[in-house]
């Protein structure tokens, strides 16, 4: 647990914010898929869980991307540079990065942050990841033309940060934004998978975070293509240390149904144990 100072706080369309906090401990120790439990305001006692999107180990900072959906995130959005937030973290199991060389990373809405965190972690390895980010509100960044990855005039835009990291990425939305695939993340994922050879498919592992229906569709796609798939889940939380059993989801195990805590047993689960 630590007090972190707000170093930057940018607003994007669609009530989305990127918050930079200082903590070299969290920057150093976070693995992709982990989250922090943040006190959003003096007037709201319960903390809010938010995923770590990226870390800057050299400067000892980390970034969060969040969307205002209710009172807590609204209060958080009113916090200013220089304010101090109490943060518990990093928390959770995080994604297990395997030796599969073609990771397919899928993020929907405010499920993008843990996906971006994986991209940051593996950008300098010999993996060749492909990222698909979907949003039905304007993206929390200004999409730009990409020079990396599949060439296609209509589906040409990416997230600038991922372009900078040299990670191939394409965007999807039903809204008809320029350079963005018109459809669901799973539609584009399917189109991408269909371009791969059998040998290439054997190197794919799917990682996803986003709304429940999206995760269900991603899980189904993974079954159809016989791919391993890890998904990151959300549930209401109280303690976020495993003490209250408030955040459980039903998981299928070898010994039948079990209720697992999203905060410490997750938030990442094998998609086949959930759907």
């Amino acid at each position: 647990m630590c007090d972190c100072q707000i170093l930057a706080h940018y607003q994007y369309d669609g009530d989305q914010f990127i918050l930079t906090l200082d903590s070299s401990e969290i920057a150093k120790s976070t693995i992709p898929g982990q989250f922090v439990h943040v006190t959003v305001s003096d007037s709201i006692p319960m903390r809010r869980p938010i995923s770590v999107m990226s870390v800057d180990i050299d400067n000892g900072t980390f970034d969060l991307l969040y969307k205002v959906v209710g009172e807590g995130t609204k209060k958080l959005s009113e916090s200013k540079i220089g304010d101090i937030l109490s943060v518990i973290g990093p928390i959770g199991n995080g994604f297990e990065l395997t030796d599969k060389k073609l990771p397919l990373l899928i993020g929907g809405g405010v499920g993008m942050p843990p996906i971006i965190a994986i991209a940051q972690k593996i950008k300098d390895t010999d993996c060749d990841p492909f990222v698909i980010l979907g949003s039905e509100v304007p993206f929390p960044f200004t999409p730009e033309h990409s020079n990396i990855g599949p060439e296609c005039d209509e589906v040409s835009h990416t997230m600038p940060l991922l372009e900078e990291w040299g990670v191939a990425c394409r965007l999807t939305s039903l809204q008809g934004f320029e350079g963005v695939y018109k459809g669901y993340v799973t539609d584009l994922a399917k189109a991408y998978l269909d371009t791969l050879s059998k040998n290439e498919l054997s190197k794919v592992e799917v990682f996803a975070c986003g709304p429940h229906p999206m995760l269900e569709a991603v899980a189904k796609l993974s079954v159809d293509y016989n791919l391993p798939c890890q998904i990151s889940l959300e549930e209401f939380m109280a303690c976020a240390v495993g003490g209250c059993a408030g955040c459980t989801v039903e998981v299928q195990t070898e010994r039948g149904s079990a209720m697992k805590r999203v905060c410490v047993d997750g938030p990442v689960f094998d998609a086949r144990s959930i759907f």
């Binding site: 303690c239 408030g246 989801v249």
Partner: protein
């Protein structure tokens, strides 16, 4: 061990006893908020040695999966929960969890729930043969269909539950009372008559929250138990009422319900609590216990009191 010795050196005036157990601090961590005693130790700066005792998660005879999500929801100055007593069952707690607890750090209290009088008796009997320091009988859980608050709201049923546990164990018994009843003092009396060594006052109050866009209750189980600062004034009054009965029998109270500050803790002690329970507030501030230890210790010395006992029930009514 280090923080244990520092603790006891720093706050000698906080040492107290409860139902014959020697405690380092008058703070008790409450059932259901701290899992099986190890979860919060993941947080740097938190130590079980800083509290007098820990009540473990509500345990039933057989394992329980608990209720459907959502199980928790924040409400004004508090929260609702409906966990539904998710726990691995008595045998697993005895065989797998108790052996892993560091019994030198603090006192551990098991919190038990049954779906029948006999089941309470059976669980008490099984824990009687373990290293657990005391048994807290939960007859006030609002979140299970059978048992729980159904026993706690009927003083005669409460009597029978405590009575059967008393016959099955020589460990100290603490009975956790429900605020969801008309005459909590009478209920306390019946539990004392049946042999309860201590009382825990209060468990959560039943409540509801509604999602207006879906017109559905937020909590999966529709209703839940309300805890946190929102219930403090109610809890304080209940402690005061129960104390009027319990003091005659010298039966001590764990005062609880919304304690989040040093002042809250002191108020409960003045109202009649021998020790104070902290649950929900730990979710906001996992390092709260040391602040309360320090605050209570300072208050005692400033007021010329040698120990917590000197403050218990010192309320002067208007």
């Amino acid at each position: 061990m280090l923080s244990y010795s520092i603790m006891s050196r720093m706050y000698n005036n906080l040492k107290t006893s409860f139902c014959g157990l020697k405690l380092n601090s008058p703070i008790v961590l409450l059932s259901g908020c701290v899992g099986f005693g190890e979860e919060y130790t993941r947080i740097e700066g938190f130590s079980n040695a800083d509290v007098g005792a820990i009540c473990l998660k509500g345990t039933t005879l057989e394992p329980r999966l608990g209720n459907a999500p959502h199980r928790v929801a924040e409400t004004s100055s508090g929260m609702l929960n409906s966990i539904g007593l998710q726990n691995p069952g008595t045998e697993a707690v005895i065989n797998d969890i108790l052996p892993s607890l560091d019994m030198d750090e603090t006192r551990f209290i098991i919190n038990i729930s049954g779906s029948s009088v006999e089941e309470y008796g059976e669980i008490a009997r099984r824990f009687d043969d373990t290293d657990i320091d005391a048994i807290e009988i939960n007859i006030s859980c609002p979140n299970v269909k059978e048992g729980g608050v159904a026993f706690g709201n009927d003083p005669e049923m409460s009597y029978r539950v405590v009575d059967v546990c008393r016959k099955n164990t020589s460990k100290p018994i603490i009975t956790k009372l429900s605020p969801n009843q008309t005459d909590i003092a009478n209920s306390a009396l019946r539990c004392i008559n049946a042999g309860s060594d201590g009382l825990a006052v209060i468990n959560t109050l039943m409540g509801m929250a509604i999602n207006i866009s879906e017109r559905r209750p937020v909590i999966g189980n529709n209703q839940g138990g309300l805890s946190g600062p929102a219930i403090k004034p109610i809890a304080l009054l209940k402690v005061h009422q129960v104390y009027q009965v319990s003091k005659k029998y010298k039966v001590p109270i764990i005062g609880q319900g919304g304690i989040a500050t040093v002042n809250d803790a002191i108020e409960f002690i003045i109202a009649g609590a021998d020790v104070v329970g902290i649950g929900t507030a730990l979710f906001y501030d996992p390092l709260l216990c040391n602040k309360i230890n320090k605050g209570v210790a300072d208050y005692l010395s400033k007021n010329g009191l040698d120990c917590v006992d000197d403050l218990v029930g010192s309320l002067v009514l208007n």
